[in-house]
Amino acid sequence: MPVYKVSIVVAGSDHPGAILNMSRPPKIGEKIRLGTREFQVVEVLKLLPPRGDFQYIHATCRAVENP
């Protein structure tokens, strides 16, 4: 099973960003929860060539607006 090692940068927010493993790649438009906060993915890039079971992804997110 592939493992997606994801670098997440949060634009326009005080959140420092995160690195974590995911079981599937992030998709533009979907929401990602980092601890207690939720963010929306606005950009996804392949960061490095895959190695073994690992895929290396970068995602840029923005804070989700409260309704």
Binding site: V9, G17, I19, L47
Partner: protein, 148 residues
């Protein structure tokens, strides 16, 4: 999920065979970290590596006062913390604390880790290569966070 399955999904052990991961598993001790509990303190000595299996840790650098401190990244499942002290034997480069409940880590002592790498050079080579790749990934993440 069992410990062997957890370790197979950690990049640090990518390329190791099942029997080699079983040898690594023998070095691991599980530790649950309460929210806000510190795992490491910047400037203090350290002789352990941590593998996050659940939850999130935040990595903080800066001075002793709150105004000088800065959270540089949050690390989630599958990530490694404390690897610099394991490699260079220097003091902890950052303060690390849990920001999620539950947060669980697997702890590996430097002495036991070095002994295994010396006894089995294949394990030593692969794990050290993967440690270098992990440090490189963290540097790339930092560069991307400075992009704007």
């Amino acid at each position: 999920m069992g410990l062997l399955e957890i370790l197979q999904d950690v990049e640090l052990f990518e390329g190791l065979e099942q029997g080699e991961i079983e040898q690594i598993a023998l070095l691991c001790t599980e530790r649950r970290v309460a929210e806000s509990e510190q795992l490491t303190t910047q400037g203090e000595p350290g002789d352990e590596l941590y593998i996050i299996t659940e939850g999130f840790l935040e990595v903080i650098i800066g001075g002793t006062s709150t105004s000088q401190r800065r959270v540089v990244v949050n690390l989630g499942a599958g990530q490694v913390v404390g690897e610099m002290a394991l490699i260079d034997q220097g003091p902890r480069s950052a303060t690390v604390r849990a920001i999620d409940e539950p947060t669980t880590v697997q702890t590996i002592k430097r002495e036991a880790f070095e002994k295994l790498c010396m006894e089995n050079n294949r394990i030593g080579y692969i794990v050290m290569r993967n440690l270098a790749a992990d440090l490189s990934f963290k540097l790339r993440h930092h560069n991307l966070s400075e992009r704007d």
